[in-house]
């Protein structure tokens, strides 16, 4: 408001005051309007889907108004944490699974949805699904979709090299030199950034050890130094056998999103170890003529578990201090189970967990996608070994990645990398895995 507009504004304020006094009192029998605030992050399609669903929800429940507070991915967590720190968080929030350990270590950081069973139809979610959102016996969040990383390959590029898409680790490693020979030294069977490398190496090791990597109880790695060295050596092998680009080469493209990596778009990097819930964007940016396909999950000889990291792709939680838990539950139920909302989102965020949602999508005949197929594949794979949420804690992640980076740039050897991963990550875990009840939560 411009300083010179003060006078008109004063007039307007007086007019407003006058109007307020003259306004009739609200009718005594109307239901009081409840206003809910909901926050989410996403891209264009997600925003449209949410907004359409919210309008439909408001039509169904005329006394509830929902205000959407949304952003792109960048900045969302900063804002949410500031809001939580300041006590101004919205009633309903879209959250990531690994935020549960951050904001709700004792389970009290978010509203216990078990108490709202009935208003939100929890029977659509099986026990495992509800467990992923349960902390210390309290259901903090419901999963929208589950996801795991599986193998997707660019069939076109492989065909150009005269190969079919790999079905075993050996075939993958064999493909490396063939790519170099037949297509050129710029061609690689896999595109990886260090986060992907970490996930892949974890899968490799877990396929042998059959244990999850992090033990929250003891606040340590559930693995030995030798296991860490195996991870490091595996990364090195991927580079030396030309399966992935060396670190300096991969870094030359800068801090860019996976689907915007130029070599990916043109097909030079011909595969990704990627989340089933987000693979759509990878396929979308490929240059026309390229085809992305799901590959069988690569397993080691004698492996009894696939070493998958199968966890909720996205969840929705309710503010523990909300004034309107019942209305929030109604909203949750609508977003997860109502046919309109389910269709609006489609497979945007992965294959839904809610049984009724899946039924709706199947009935509408929504076409199979790479993500859908990926999730179906996961269902067939042995994956009893889970993983702690702390694996995705930023400090832990970066602890691993910094060491992989040093290894990738030749600063240290694989043995040294293994040793450092063991000591550094253990030290980090000791610091960040804090037992509940040391002053956190509400």
């Amino acid at each position: 408001m411009n300083a010179t507009a003060r006078l008109p504004r004063l007039v307007a304020a007086l007019a407003l005051a006058a109007i307020l006094f003259i306004q009739p009192a609200p009718a005594a029998d109307s239901q009081p309007t409840v206003e809910l605030r909901m926050s989410w992050w996403g891209g264009n399609e997600v925003h449209r889907a949410y907004l359409a669903s919210l309008r439909r929800f408001e039509a169904k429940y005329p006394h509830i108004k929902v205000k959407g507070e949304y952003t792109g991915w960048v900045g969302h967590l900063e804002r949410l944490t500031t809001q939580i720190a300041g006590g101004t968080a919205p009633d309903v929030m879209q959250v990531n699974w690994n935020w549960l350990v951050l904001f709700s270590r004792d389970g009290r950081g978010f509203y216990d949805l078990n108490t709202l069973n009935g208003t939100v139809d929890l029977s659509q979610f099986d026990r495992d699904a509800r467990d992923t959102g349960t902390v210390k016996g309290r259901l903090n969040a419901l999963p929208v979709a589950m996801a795991a990383r599986v193998f997707y390959f660019n069939e076109t590029t492989f065909a150009k090299a005269g190969l079919r898409v790999p079905r075993t680790w050996d075939e993958l490693f064999a493909a490396g030199p063939i790519f170099r020979e037949r297509l050129g030294k710029d061609y690689y069977p896999l595109a990886m950034n260090f986060l992907d490398v970490l996930a892949l190496c974890r899968s490799w090791v877990v396929q042998r050890t059959n244990r999850q990597l992090i033990d929250e109880g003891s606040r340590r790695l559930n693995a030995s130094e030798a296991d860490m060295e195996e991870m490091a050596a595996f990364y090195q092998r991927l580079v030396t056998e030309h399966v992935i680009a060396p670190a300096p080469e991969r870094a030359s493209y800068g801090n860019v999103a996976d689907q915007e990596l130029r070599p990916w778009i043109t097909g030079r990097y011909a595969g990704m170890y990627y989340w089933t819930s987000a693979v759509g964007k990878l396929a979308e940016t490929l240059q026309p003529g390229q085809k992305l396909v799901l590959a069988p999950y690569l397993m080691r000889e004698g492996a009894s578990d696939a070493g998958l990291f199968y966890r909720p792709a996205m969840m929705v939680a309710v503010n523990s201090k909300t004034q309107h838990p019942k209305e929030a539950a109604l909203l949750l139920d609508f977003l997860f189970n109502d046919a309109f909302a389910v269709e609006a989102f489609g497979l945007q965020r992965g294959l839904p967990v809610s049984k009724s949602a899946v039924a709706t999508l199947e009935a509408r005949g929504l076409s199979r996608t790479l993500g859908w197929d990926g999730n179906t594949q996961v269902a067939t794979l042995p994956h009893r070994v889970g993983e702690s949420g702390y694996f995705e804690h930023p400090r832990v992640r970066d602890g691993f990645i910094d060491i992989f980076e040093s290894l990738g740039f030749g600063e240290i050897s694989a043995a040294e990398a293994g040793r450092r991963m063991y000591t550094d990550v253990n030290r980090i875990l000791e610091r960040v895995v804090r037992p509940a009840g040391d002053g956190s939560g509400s």
Binding site: L77, E78, T81, T82, I84, A85, G87, L102, F103, A247, P248, E249, R250, A251, S252, Y253, G254, N255, V256, R262, P394, R395, D402, E405, S406, F409, E411, D438, G439, S440, S442
Partner: protein, 300 residues
């Protein structure tokens, strides 16, 4: 002092004093207190405990902090002189009534306008990529391409160049300063037969020193606070070679939620820059010439 009372001086300063009390003091003191605490962002503020100098001690043992400090200093020492020299040079060239000069000035100022906008990230990552614009130009000229973003040594070059590319603000201030020099001084000098170089050395430069000083201080401060470049283009890498302190502070606060430690880092940075600035102010006595204060000594 020309004007009547000291009281009217206070009156002029009153917005600042008020603002200091209301808007500035609290966050400042709060962040100082936080630096002595173990406050983590995801916890309520009441859960924070005072831990004395532990954060500062941890800083001394933190390898990442050492690296960050080093690259920040390198960055400042590289960009400040280069940017000032370039901005001054271009300001001279532009301080002329040539035809179309307005268009040129606008063109040079454009990069500064983009500043931290999201478009810069896309453009710049494309310019400096291994197969990007700059390398394509190199190859065209017969030189070898450089791995700007993938080699620790060159990554620093990419963010330095980004900063130099945005010299527009400094240039504008120099332009404004050049405009403030009375033209009759130039005329008098010409009448006395002075050469262009003598005019520059004896008239322009001395009268420009307050502005040069200002730009110098500001460039140093801003260089120490550079965040956008590393954040969007390199992410601080590779191998933390572009992990400037402001980026580290941001990540500590908003990625790792260690607000206590981030506050301590900020105050360490504060002390460092304050030292630089204080030294600069001291030195200004010797080389900055304020037109009306001959004989009145320095008032910093």
């Amino acid at each position: 002092m020309i004007y009547g009372s000291r009281m009217s001086g206070l009156l002029y300063l009153s917005p600042y004093l008020l603002g200091l009390a209301v808007f500035t003091l609290f966050p400042f003191v709060a962040s100082l207190l936080l630096s002595f605490s173990d406050y983590r962002l995801q916890d309520p503020v009441s859960a924070a405990q005072i831990i004395g100098f532990e954060n500062y001690q941890a800083m001394l043992h933190d390898r990442t902090f050492g690296k960050s400090l080093l690259v920040t200093l390198v960055y400042v020492f590289l960009t400040v002189p280069l940017k000032l020299a370039f901005a001054l040079f271009i300001a001279f060239v532009l301080n002329f009534r040539l035809r179309g000069i307005g268009a040129f000035r606008t063109a040079y100022y454009l990069p500064s306008i983009l500043g931290g906008s999201v478009a810069i990230a896309v453009v710049w990552r494309y310019v400096f990529a291994g197969d990007g614009l700059l390398n394509q130009a190199f190859v065209l000229m017969g030189a070898a391409p450089i791995n700007w973003l993938g080699e620790p040594a060159y990554a620093m070059g990419s963010i330095v160049l980004l900063r130099l590319w945005q010299f527009g603000s400094a240039m504008v201030i120099f332009l404004a300063g050049l405009q403030g020099i009375p033209t009759d001084l130039y005329e008098a000098a010409r009448l006395d037969g002075a050469s262009a170089w003598q005019v520059f050395r004896r008239i322009t430069l001395p009268l420009l020193t307050p502005v040069i000083f200002f730009n110098f201080i500001m460039q140093v401060i801003q260089a120490f606070q550079e965040f956008n470049g590393p954040y969007v283009i390199t992410g601080g890498g590779p191998l933390k070679s572009t992990y400037l302190l402001p980026l580290m502070i941001y990540e500590e606060a908003f990625k790792y939620f260690e607000v206590g430690y981030a506050s301590a880092l900020s105050w360490a940075l504060f002390v460092l820059v304050a030292l630089f600035t204080a030294l600069a102010f001291r030195s200004s006595k010797y080389w900055v010439f304020y037109a009306q204060e001959r004989g009145e000594g320095d008032k910093s």
